[in-house]
Symmetry: C2
Subunit: 448 residues, 2 copies
């Protein structure tokens, strides 16, 4: 949708809301629908080709309004997460379908998805160990639990462990910044030998520093064998899995207990929208289930059939209240269609390779990690200080903006393709700009 | 703002966004402002009288855009929470001001505020006890920690303890469904005697079932003396404290470590916007502080001065990403003014008393708890079954919608004044409707 269409459609939406407000007293205070009403009204999967705004817009009154905020909010979310799961070819166990044991939910951020899965794993492990070793108290067990993640993993994994009150250890990544099976096995063996209880491994697909990928096909079987919950954090990279040529990066997801990626990062959905799936939703409800009386009555006894599913999402997240975030997913998936979103991903990956080639053609520079998706890690051949000076010069000019990282001891510049409207000309402009600043910097540097 | 003005202003906003998108390449990629730039540009407190939409709208380009998303998002939030804190006459220790030790933050829900404060209390207590009794391990201490809340408290308190991996106990409320000092003291003494470590008490102002108020002036000094973190959950009731005649309900907040209420519940701000303050923000940062390299560099070394405050909010919540929720607070506080919001609260309280009087005039009914704010707990004199049947009949008619509760063993109907546009005629309509359904029900009931 370009700015001109946005003007038109945005104003239609404003009128729709104003009409709704003006006529609100004519609407019923509580919906007539039965739980599960929504799924039969919409297709089983996202459309391949884009639909028009009118088509989606018309469905608001037809499909959403009869279900009001509840149960429409919950049901659309469940179905949209099934759509999205199918788009990345997630194993069927992760989908809710009509009577699956898995399913998806929208969280606010990958941090929350990691935390929720760690907490579910914690409860599940405590219960299992209590059965096996009744002499241990819950506090004893808590004190021995250990979570694991790559030394390249996002800080939110460490934070989840901190919140959950459990130990966390880094697993060393290899030369390609990926965790392989032997590295995990080594630390597990050591920890088990010293009486600790490994219970959670967070694999990363597309690490923040350099977009590296942990080796799921090696790690998954180890986790399954050792009764360790495997969560996959693919916050950024996950969107790419809608393209068949990138789907192999997700191979091994079949071993995972939970999986997460953020459509708000790279699938044109506005922040926040973090999609999380679990194989057994009873693992989540088991971790969080509380039954306050006023909710029990609201949902069960009072004759208000509504909200069985909503009540159910209540156990999937930390807050009780929920926004209607699946609406934006519904709009985006339909208005772009799968093919439109694939084009978006492919354009970004193409542009990152364009940038990579420009870097490689300039012998003053080097590429620091394999370019797989939309991130290019590069640097001037030379000291960290030189590269820090280059970054400073780039960011102070404020034509483009780069966020750096360390790969081991090496200071690296990260060129990330982000914008919906980015084109090849922007890449050329950026490279020319960086190249000129580098020339100026190297001149000063040599003079010193 | 009525629907007609919403049409006009909504469309202006659509155009503003479209213009922004069309001209985005002319904007600088990174702001020029220094941290702290925003506070001097706006008043110290919310306006008493309403301002026009134009005035607020003009300030977007003038005040927000020069600070882009960062640091404007953080700085506006800090200042808005100071505005809001002043509106409810929160002790100055809770405000950020120019160099205070406290401050406010927007969370998504009261559940998150409770969880964050419980986690901060947990870390603080573990550190203190480790100093006092170095022979105890962290797991030993965790196993002895106990949190407390009223038997009327929201289920999210129990859930916070579950997540934090600590015990939680109910404190018995009195005849008015309030927790008093002696009830807390009793359970603390018992638990300390058996070797447990009380560390957290969540007081409720405005409980979910019947809007009762825990006795802060008795509870606060006990918590302070016993080194127990007192958090106050005033999710619904907190908005009323902007009216001087209701502010006394908050007396005793000076003893608290953290306080929370939800402007999205009763202050005309759209969901989600849960306002939380702490006296010592170092207690939060102490609980969550992690320093991932890519953030360190982004904020400290790379010459990007921005985000010191944002970085700082990073330790105040579970997700890393943040939406720009303070904007809606800014708009609402200015467009209503303090007086407009006070009128809104007062109207709701007046209407709840109107409903209360209607109930009291009908001798078939009784009021079940003191009506303090916008909630009326009432029932037919008679059995729980009779009242369940009445609720069923009300909710099946779908003219109005009630959510019930239990007060001790008594099944109670809750009439909650919620809508922005509710008027006296709606109350009369609702009562007449309930009264007619009761007449019909009682007739059937007698026949049986």
């Amino acid at each position: 949708m370009d700015a001109a269409e946005f003007r038109k459609r945005g104003k239609e939406m404003v009128d729709y809301i104003a009409d709704y407000l003006e006529k609100i007293e004519k609407r019923q205070v509580f919906p007539d629908v039965e739980p599960g009403y929504l799924r039969p009204l919409i297709p089983d999967c996202a459309p391949q080709d884009p639909e028009s705004f009118e088509d989606v817009f018309k469905d608001i009154e037809k499909i959403i309004m009869p279900g009001a905020a509840s149960p429409a909010c919950t049901e659309l979310e469940t179905v949209m997460l099934d759509w999205l799961g199918k788009m990345i070819n997630l194993p069927e166990e992760f989908l809710a379908g009509k009577d699956g044991q898995g399913g998806g939910v929208i969280q606010g951020s990958a941090s929350e998805a990691t935390l929720i899965s760690l907490l579910a794993a914690r409860t599940k492990t405590i219960r299992r160990v209590q059965l096996e070793k009744p002499e241990l108290t819950e506090a004893d067990i808590m004190g021995r639990l250990v979570a694991y993640a790559s030394d390249q993993a996002h800080s939110s994994v460490e934070r989840a462990a901190l919140i959950g009150g459990v130990k966390i250890k880094n697993v060393s990544s290899d030369d390609t910044f990926s965790v392989c099976g032997s590295a995990l096995k080594k630390v597990l063996d050591e920890d088990k030998a010293s009486g600790l209880i490994p219970f959670f491994f967070c694999a990363t697909l597309g690490t923040t520093p350099c977009c590296s990928f942990d080796k799921l096909l090696e790690l998954g079987p180890i986790c399954n064998k050792e009764n360790i919950w495997m969560h996959i954090d693919a916050a950024y990279a996950g969107s790419a899995f809608i393209c068949p040529e990138f789907r192999h990066l997700l191979n091994g997801v079949e071993f995972a207990d939970s999986f997460n990626f953020n459509p708000h990062k790279w699938l044109l959905v506005n922040f926040d929208c973090s999609a999380m799936w679990v194989k057994k939703r009873s693992d989540l409800t088991g971790a969080f289930k509380l039954e306050p009386l006023y909710l029990q009555h609201h949902h069960q006894e009072s004759g208000n059939f509504i909200n069985k599913l909503d009540y159910y999402y209540f156990h999937w997240q930390i807050p009780l209240g929920r926004r209607f975030r699946s609406l934006k997913l519904w709009f985006v998936l339909r208005m772009y269609g799968v093919t439109g979103l694939q084009e978006h991903i492919r354009k970004h990956v193409r542009l990152s390779h364009q940038f990579e080639h420009l870097v490689l053609q300039d012998e003053r520079f080097e590429i620091c990690a394999e370019v797989v998706l939309g991130l290019v890690c590069f640097r001037l051949k030379g000291s960290n200080e030189l590269n820090k000076a280059l970054l400073k010069s780039i960011n102070e000019a404020k034509k483009i903006h780069l966020v750096p990282c360390h790969l081991r001891e090496t200071f690296v510049l990260r060129f990330a393709i982000c914008s919906r409207t980015v084109e090849s000309t922007h890449i050329k402009f950026a490279w020319q700009h960086i190249s000129q600043l580098a020339t100026a910097l190297l001149k000063t540097w040599e003079e010193l």
